[in-house]
Assembly symmetry: C2
């Protein structure tokens, strides 16, 4: 049957069995994987690929392609079996499943050119899909569709309901969630079992179109996809399926999750043996070009006068508005705190490229990732503290290799009265521990503006930390600041000690250096605005020249500026290690003025001078 | 009117105005705060305190007390005004709002004995309330009620829908969400404005009882509370309110969020001036004692034979089941991966104290915190990678000073084929950066069992990291392991170098030490199973004795074991710093066998021997 064009035939059921067989085969070859979770969705996907998906496998970057996301990423054997049936990969590559060096990873990642986003942390695929669908409707303005295969278990994740709320409210008719209701989770029955009505009621309440079907009835599946295409709202197809469908030994059985079939050969026989049915997936009709918001123009950042006082969050908002004017690919996302983060300045300047995600940080990050899939350049901002809400999404964005610019405002105890719930005190640690991330923490307005622009082209996840209160402008307009840079603000040939700071503590360090200077102690001061990567050479030079380093940061003692400095000396540095003293926030803060907070936390200029003196006494 | 018993009178409206006045007064005194968000909910709370709340302010630990959570924590001025009206605090303390040292923090925390949980990160109060309500229904088996005041904006958070799903499914009739639908968020109108029906439809779909009312009509409020008490399901009271109600200059106006009133004196006059109405909140009727699951008994941990191979996740499950037998206060929570984390062993042994939260990690953590409020000893487990999903909840649990035991399985690249989405590679960094946390990472089964027991009484957040694959048992049964400890596994007077490892890399370190020994290189090996706090003395001794340290960990390079070791030398250590070389995971892993993963990541025994040799060549 090699090469038979099933898209013209009715043998979709046969293709479904081939997909099952291939899922069983590759899982058996690897000795691991999720064949039963693949088998339940095989007919759903066979019908989609044969009759409804519009995709050019020879040109994955075609802007008119539909998008398919396996939110249940553990069904990767099914996805790879589909790729094989579509002629995108060979049977040999399929059977390299889960082996070293193979693109056939345990859960799909964009190492495969047809995969938009990495999945495997459940409840994320639909939110990412909402992002792509938003891009399709409101940015690209193209009619591509976004198909998301969800598991039933993952509908327990709150992020799914953030996605449902956003998609329902925006009437994303280009979005279809295909829910594989196979009733069995990792360790037994799901909460709602085969009650597809329970899910339908919930999604209808969020203004979705819902269709309940038998997920193994090709005609019902086909009709549901057609109805979804005709809907003016997002559609959820709630498909009752059987986990392990087609093989009696595993069908609808507990304790068959996430393991190869015990008797793969018998199962393959039961399914009719190995086939080689090919699907000719129909490519999209080429239509209009993606929409563009005008032409690029030179960047004109706001300029701040040295000696003025300006909050870095203000400089961020103004810089992003300016960047949006210069670059029509820049978009902004807010989680209903734009008035505080100053994302509102971008919203006011570029309302068509601004997305209000309301208080749903996970969906905000997912939407940004989804827009990035389509080549847009998203900046997403909320309080640094509340980005912790979306940490798993950031983690998975890194697995995707996504390009993402995140801005966390209200960093540290310096926010003052609002108290610890609003203080970002772990954000440096969290973002430094993201693969290939960049972490930037400016201390003045011109530096902030320069870094907002520098982030735009970073090919990974770039995080900018901003401050609530005004800080003195110490750098002139137009000074250049690059990722991995630093600034030596005080320096002499006779420096006794080095103070390394970033953000608000730079100003404390400068005051301390002045005070120490009056006592004849010469302190070098480094503004380590790039917390990751660190300007290791400047730190090493300081260690060599002064032998003593005090670090000071508005952050918990773990994982921030101090640890970034120490790490320099664990990376193969030659010569003696310096004496290092780390100042950071140790106690749980409460309410107080910003000045009281810095003093109480032991990270103000007085704490710095005392630390320097204690280090010099050793 | 001092001391008038409003609970008998009908002057609830007058009390509402007093609460508004006091919210305005304390915000004016501090120059910050959220009076308008307090004013919208004043009548709702005045009615609750006067007629429905059962609470003994003189005995906050009374097990029969109702629980009141301000999920909209920024309405703290209202909460404190209520405390004043109830006679729990003085007017003077009220007016210390948001000042250094005051208990009247910007957002409520359990520094106040009547506050169960810290709020201020929106969307968390209801999930915490679900935890307390679960405790009331299924653990304590007492009729106390849980009242949660929510904002409308926060209903966009996915965590709210995780809470609704859990509460609806469990038919938590003891839970009432009072939603203050004032239609204005931080930066403008909310998504659904005053459409209380939009919220009602959604919550009904999640099987809640819903009641839509005018939130300023005392009779409607009163009837709604009465109806909630009679419901056999959780109830949401969706109250249409006016932000800034009672003061025309701010009522229902945008740009009045989170700031004191411009003219407080006029506003207070408009509201009828300062009053001193007292509420006699009715204490609970004393009823039966909280339920107990039997009597404590001696702990009998499983014993593992040295030389056997056992996965630490298995040892965790068995130890927790044993701990549950010894301690009737221990409860277990799962996010539908109990089969993998081995929480299932606890579930099988103690089904009445086991809570299946399905794939909703935020709600799982929140439920654990809520049960902890009532004195239960919760252990919650999922994959280490998926605990990132609940990082904001862990952060806020630390602000609450909660006692919480978290277990993250499937740590690091050592899991093998499943790939990066399932690998916890940032968990050490994330959990080390939690205030007062403890981070434990055992390498063998007996050590795991001992640490599971040691965690039980830690008065803060204790995190245990477990591994998927089998590891050799190297410690005898009954060996003692304590928080802040370590084990020196190889040591001599002539050690040339120290290798510091934890978890799976301990075994790599031992193999490396053996290989090095054959070449006449003597390596000390430290099992740093307590990653926070670190056994600083043992690390310092090693630095003094050997001068060279190699750290090796199955984690990103940031924030883990290596940084914990470096930090020892930044905390006022005397003497020369050692040479340190950190081995950790640098590249993004894909699928491979566990052995291939360790080798590819450069953290296996061969990488350790090479690192030692390179350090010795310096």
């Amino acid at each position: 049957m090699t090469g038979q064009n099933v898209s013209q035939a009715v043998h979709i059921g046969e293709l479904g069995d081939q997909l099952r067989v291939d899922a069983i085969r590759c899982s058996a070859a690897s000795g691991s994987g999720h064949p039963t979770s693949s088998m339940s969705a095989a007919d759903l996907m066979a019908t989609l690929f044969t009759r409804h998906l519009r995709y050019d496998f020879d040109d994955p970057s075609n802007p008119h392609n539909d998008h398919l996301i396996f939110s249940k990423g553990h069904a990767s054997p099914l996805l790879y079996a589909l790729y094989k049936a579509a002629g995108a990969i060979t049977d040999e590559e399929l059977l390299s499943f889960r082996t070293l060096g193979s693109r056939m990873e345990g859960h799909p990642t964009p190492r495969l050119p047809w995969v938009d986003v990495a999945t495997g942390s459940l409840g994320q695929g639909l939110p990412f899909g909402v992002g792509i669908a938003l891009a399709g409707k409101l940015l690209d303005r193209l009619p591509y569709r976004v198909w998301v295969l969800c598991g039933d278990s993952e509908l327990a994740e709150g992020s799914i309901w953030e996605a449902c709320e956003h998609a329902g409210y925006e009437k994303l008719a280009n979005l279809v969630a295909i829910v594989d209701v196979n009733r069995l989770g990792q360790r037994g029955p799901t909460r709602h079992g085969w009650d597809t009505g329970a899910y339908a009621r919930r999604m209808q309440a969020f203004d979705w179109n819902t269709i309940e079907i038998d997920g193994h009835d090709i005609d019902q599946i086909d009709s549901a996809y057609a109805a979804a295409a005709a809907s003016d709202r997002p559609t959820a197809i709630l498909a009752r399926t059987t986990k392990g469908a087609g093989v009696e030994a595993v069908a609808d059985r507990e304790e068959q999750h996430g393991k190869p079939l015990a008797d793969a050969d018998d199962a393959i026989d039961e399914l009719g043996g190995v086939r080689n049915v090919r699907i000719d997936v129909r490519p999209p009709a080429n239509e209009t070009e993606p929409y563009q918001f005008g032409e690029p123009s030179p960047l004109r950042l706001s300029e701040y006068k040295v000696g003025d006082s300006v909050a870095t969050r203000n400089a961020f908002g103004e810089a992003l508005a300016a960047l949006g004017a210069a670059r029509p690919d820049v978009v902004g996302l807010d989680a209903e705190v734009g008035d505080s983060t100053r994302m509102q300045k971008f919203a006011d300047a570029h309302p068509e490229r601004f997305f209000q995600c309301y208080i749903a940080e996970q969906q905000m990050i997912a939407a940004a990732v989804g827009m990035g899939v389509r080549g847009w350049t998203p900046y997403a901002a909320t309080f640094a503290a509340f980005l912790t809400r979306a940490y798993d999404f950031v983690r998975m964005a890194a697995v995707s290799g996504a390009e993402l610019r995140l801005v966390g405002s209200h960093a540290g105890v310096a926010i003052g009265q609002d108290g610890p719930s609003q203080m970002g005190l772990e954000d440096l640690a969290a973002f430094r521990a993201v693969h290939r991330s960049v972490v930037l923490y400016p201390c003045d307005a011109n530096q902030t503006a320069a870094l907002v622009a520098a982030m735009a082209d970073y090919p990974g996840i770039a995080y900018l930390r901003t401050s609530r209160g005004d800080t003195p402008v110490i750098y002139g307009p137009g000074e250049e600041f690059s990722i991995a840079g630093s600034r030596v603000l005080r320096s002499s040939a006779q420096d006794d000690v080095t103070i390394i700071a970033a953000g608000v503590t730079v100003h404390e360090a400068l005051t301390a250096a002045d005070q120490l200077g009056q006592d004849g102690i010469s302190a070098r001061v480094i503004d380590l605005y790039s917390v990751k990567p660190v300007d290791a050479q400047t730190v090493r030079d300081a260690a060599r020249d002064t032998g003593r380093i005090v670090t000071v940061e508005d952050h918990w003692p773990q994982g921030g500026v101090g640890d970034a400095v120490l790490d320099v000396f664990a990376q193969g540095a030659e010569g003696p290690m310096p004496q290092v003293l780390k100042l950071a926030v140790h106690g749980m803060p409460a309410s107080a003025t910003p000045e009281e907070q810095l003093r109480t936390a032991g990270i103000d200029h007085q704490a710095v001078t005392e630390a320097v003196r204690s280090l010099l006494r050793r």
